[in-house]
């Protein structure tokens, strides 16, 4: 019994650590990437793989309770709204005149 619990603990610790690593990498990418679209790409790492790993890690600790169902719901909503927000942001930026790879916008007025 305790071997199983220890195994679960180690697996959950591993998932949480790798998830935290991905969050950190995505954060550094969002800061250091040269262009708006590459930054969006880096930030989307923190929105997609990192919640999966972190919430899976937490769910292993929570077991089969109501909290796990709520965690599944949180994961579902994050995975549903994260890519949609990125899509909406990229569409808006493209329509405003920012082209990928080109650091300057075509429409100078949209520049802040």
């Amino acid at each position: 019994m305790t071997v199983f619990a220890t195994l679960l603990d180690i697996l959950s610790w591993l998932l949480l650590s790798v998830g935290g690593l991905f969050v950190f990498v995505g954060g550094i990418g969002a800061l250091r990437m040269p262009d708006l679209y590459t930054r969006m790409h880096a930030a989307s790492v923190t929105d997609s793989i990192a919640p999966i790993l972190i919430i899976a890690g937490i769910m292993l600790q929570a077991g089969l309770t109501l909290a796990s169902i709520k965690l599944v719901a949180i994961l579902l909503f994050l995975l549903l709204t994260g890519p949609t927000a990125s899509n909406a942001l990229a569409s808006a930026a493209l329509l405003a005149g920012y082209r990928p790879g080109n650091a300057k916008p075509l429409d100078e007025e949209a520049r802040q």
Binding site: N87, A88, S91, Q112
Partner: protein, 325 residues
């Protein structure tokens, strides 16, 4: 370790506040205000104040950002140059800051159980709640029953704010031609956000109702639920256009909600009086006092939720009617 996290978040809060004050671009200030509210909600959560954190997250980071953007659509984007005589203001603020920091030297230590604030009414509430009210969430018990009169005042403050905004902005009569037709406006060229957003709206509404009625057992209550339900209708208005959202909940109904919630709260109080007790005495509303308390708290939280929903939606529509939404 929690203290380290708390201090780190507070430092980020300080940096954000400084940036909000110093930036001349108002749109950046609105975005940073959203970040400020998020960091503050995280801080409240670290301090174990879940109800406050939920209210701050729902109202501050969601609805406030939308309302600020609505206001920003009506004005210019750069702040006008500040007046030159700020030395007196700077001096007054410095004196106040030094005085407040000096006053904190006499405070008790953080979370000290012998501090006066923890020995006065807090142990009494913690002791009496299981006997008199019998709900697990002591915050709702204090808010709804022991300090119900304060919450009545808060509902009327929200009501007054709503009425005030409606007086100031009201119904705009000079509407543009394209507002009069029923074609879908809003983010209609963005197909994916529209589809996903429309899928989310019933879940946000359902979650708002869950938070409303779950306030007895966990973090929740009327204020948070009102903000969440208003957020779902605002999402619909952003996706499909404001006039379609007005067909869902027309202005007359919203005004009815604003007044109706406060009326419900007051009616519960008067019902207590009519049944022979004092104002806002819930013990007489059912067979035994504990069930009476449950019924009373349920009704007043419903009143709070209704008023908050009506006020937030009215304010949103007041801005959106005049602006470019």
């Amino acid at each position: 370790m929690i203290v380290v996290f708390g201090v780190f978040l507070l430092t980020l809060l300080l940096i954000t506040a400084f940036a909000i004050v110093r930036t001349p671009n108002l749109f950046v200030a609105v975005m940073l205000t959203g970040i400020f509210s998020l960091l503050l909600a995280s801080n409240f959560f670290l301090l174990d104040a879940a109800d406050v954190a939920l209210t701050e997250a729902a109202v501050g980071a969601g609805i406030s950002t939308v309302l600020f953007l609505g206001a920003l659509a009506l004005t210019a984007e750069r702040e006008t140059a500040p007046s030159s005589n700020r030395l007196i203001a700077l001096l007054a603020v410095s004196v106040m800051v030094v005085a407040i920091i000096y006053a904190t030297f006499d405070k008790p230590r953080f979370a000290d159980p012998d501090a006066p604030v923890h020995r006065h009414v807090a142990p009494w509430y913690l002791e009496k709640t299981p006997d008199a009210i019998d709900i697990p969430n002591v915050v709702t018990a204090v808010l709804g029953s022991f300090r119900g009169y304060d919450t009545l005042g808060e509902v009327f403050v929200v009501y007054t704010a709503g009425i005030g905004v409606l007086f100031l902005l009201g119904k705009s009569t000079a509407r543009r031609q394209e507002d009069l037709d029923d074609a879908p406006r809003g983010l209609r060229h963005y197909l994916i956000p529209r589809v996903v957003g429309r899928m989310l709206i019933p879940f946000i509404l359902l979650f708002g109702l869950y938070v409303q009625f779950h306030g007895d057992y966990g973090p929740g209550g009327g204020f948070q639920a009102g903000a969440l339900i208003a957020a779902s209708i605002i999402l619909y208005a952003l996706l499909e256009g404001e006039n379609r959202a007005l067909r869902v909940l027309p202005r007359g109904l919203l005004t009815g909600l604003i007044a109706g919630g406060a009326l419900l709260y007051g009616a519960v109080g008067v019902a207590g009086m009519l049944l022979g007790g004092k104002f806002l005495d819930y013990s007489l509303l059912a067979d035994n006092p504990v069930s009476g308390q449950h019924v009373g708290i349920l009704l007043i939280e419903a009143g709070v939720g209704i008023t908050v929903t009506g006020v937030l939606l009215s304010i949103f529509h007041a801005f959106a009617a005049r602006g470019r939404f």
